[in-house]
Assembly symmetry: C2
């Protein structure tokens, strides 16, 4: 019998279609590949990207030249533009705003073929350190309400370049999915005076069957109501509401955890396309005169990373309902991932 | 400058990235094709599907034999099962329910290669008539809170068989996307004492730039905050809350409109993969003892069909935020579709 499960945070129902019970090798590899071409992200090609915003350079080399370890550049085809003031207005029944925001690319390594799963831990810590730096910097701009850090790996996950990179988009509004999570967290906190994420993590740690990995600082869970097969939630075990405020020790622990998780996914599922994204609090530094709805009620949030291998396609039913059909139970997914030999 | 637009019904923000301004031919055709194989939906192969639930047969032929025009069968690999009672229970912080529901396939024609865009209008009217019949029948089952009718056309839209067919899934809960629309409609009605869909349709008809097609009964709009390029909203011009209650005259007008829209999409975008889905009110026939939240407040809803050509891929940003980036403005999309020569 299939089972319906409800996610108390994103408020979605998911059908766990256990009878279809698919194992890791039952998911066909997508045929679509990123075409091989000149790579503007490789060391030596710095002139082919817009001028760099920031880089980690150990040898004191000049900006926009070789010698970097992590390099941040504006997206050449940005979805939003950094210039201009917010201009929010009505249009009859609709609302519009000019497309002010930021769209950056964090090039994770000078090496074209060195993915996060295989990178030395200290290099991955450098990438995460750069996430925090760019996030903290952009949050100083009061026009931006939210900054999403996300990674598309593989063509089927939306990547157009194979060279390992992460993207960052700062938006002048709080996106719907975040509002939904913030409302759930606030409602739960008002009712229970506890964080909903802390409660979920505690229940999962007690039970154990959906835990993939845990160290002292972080835990990785196959969520109870996983929308996608082998979806993972990676979160700090203690309550932390802002990714912009993580310390250097936490960055190291996160790098250890993220590398191992991505390695297990790569090995278990034959290097699948995947997305990951960081959910943190909206920009609460907005000055009082311009304070938005979320500014006072976000300490009840708990930052986390969602990792989504792209193994199934999303069709009419999912678009029409916000309901998902998942052919691998999270308990099975966690088990397969735990059993990967390192 | 890109523009941000807000959908007042689904409460999503969309980035209309006008500078990327893509024309119909700028969208690459997906390479993925449905493999050619034995087709269980073709006339003569009735024994290869589960026994039929209902059919339109003009010649008095026997069930599960040739001679049908439209044929409804259970899905061979159903996401939900028709047998069993609802068993809703908690699991610590989570909610679960057994997977009771219905999953049917409406085979639109005995002909393997006759899509809706090319079918005679009276045949398409027969398909829509069958939608209404199956919907009305399933709504008599109080276990089902919602019935979604949807179509996946082409591999990239999630279809695994090429033979023209529509699916129907009855769920024991009201899905999130519907709740969102119902809340918007209710809030607007409380505030304005008008239907939010009627207001949107009126504003669009006055302005005209996003209207693709209109007849006396229906209107097709490229929505102001379209998530996807060439996305369309097809709705009755007058206020109707339930698809299960449409009359035969309306079915004919809808068939005319749907055929022409799908033909324009096919010609304009080179037969793209697409999804369409019907949004109607949840099951309000539930007896009072088991009345759900929506049962008394759904006459302010307005049924409609969403049509979504699948031209772009959905990546990390969209999954992470519920925010969409659309490279073709709806004004341009409407113009291209209006200009198609029939």
């Amino acid at each position: 019998m299939p089972e319906l499960r409800h996610d108390p945070i994103q408020k979605r129902w998911v059908i766990i279609a256990t009878e279809r019970g698919r194992r890791p090798n039952d998911y066909p590899r997508p045929e679509q590949e990123i075409p091989r071409a000149f790579c503007p992200f490789c060391e030596g090609n710095e002139g082919k990207t817009p001028p760099e915003i920031r880089a980690i350079r150990r040898d004191g080399s000049a900006p926009n030249s070789p010698g970097w370890k992590v390099r941040v550049v504006p997206n050449k085809f940005p979805a939003l533009r950094i210039e201009g003031n917010l201009d929010r207005r009505g249009f009859g029944i609709f609302d519009r705003m000019n497309g002010v925001g930021a769209h950056e690319v964090i090039i994770e390594t000078p090496r074209h073929d060195l993915g996060m799963a295989d990178m030395p831990v200290e290099d991955l810590a450098g990438v995460i350190w750069m996430y925090r730096e760019r996030l903290a910097d952009l949050l100083r701009d009061f026009r931006f309400k939210y900054v999403l850090i996300f990674k598309n790996h593989g063509a089927a996950a939306g990547a157009s370049l194979a060279h390992p990179h992460t993207q960052l988009i700062a938006t002048p509004v709080t996106p719907l999915t975040l509002s939904e999570e913030l409302i759930s967290a606030r409602d739960h906190y008002r009712y229970k005076e506890r964080c909903i994420f802390c409660d979920v993590i505690e229940q999962e740690l007690e039970l154990g069957s959906r835990i993939v990995l845990a160290n002292e600082t972080f835990v990785a869970i196959a969520p109870y109501a996983s929308r996608f097969p082998f979806e993972l939630l990676l979160a700090p075990r203690a309550h932390h509401h802002s990714f912009a405020e993580i310390g250097d020790g936490m960055i190291h622990d996160l790098a250890l955890m993220l590398k191992e998780l991505l390695f297990r996914i790569k090995k278990c599922l034959n290097d699948p396309p995947y997305n990951f994204l960081i959910h943190t609090i909206p920009n609460v530094r907005t000055p009082p005169k311009r304070a938005g709805y979320w500014d006072t009620i976000t300490v009840d949030f708990h930052w986390h990373i969602e990792i989504m291998p792209r193994l199934t396609s999303v069709a009419g039913f999912e678009w029409g309902t916000g309901f998902y059909i998942n052919p691998t139970s999270p308990e099975e997914a966690a088990k397969y991932l735990r059993e990967v030999e390192l």
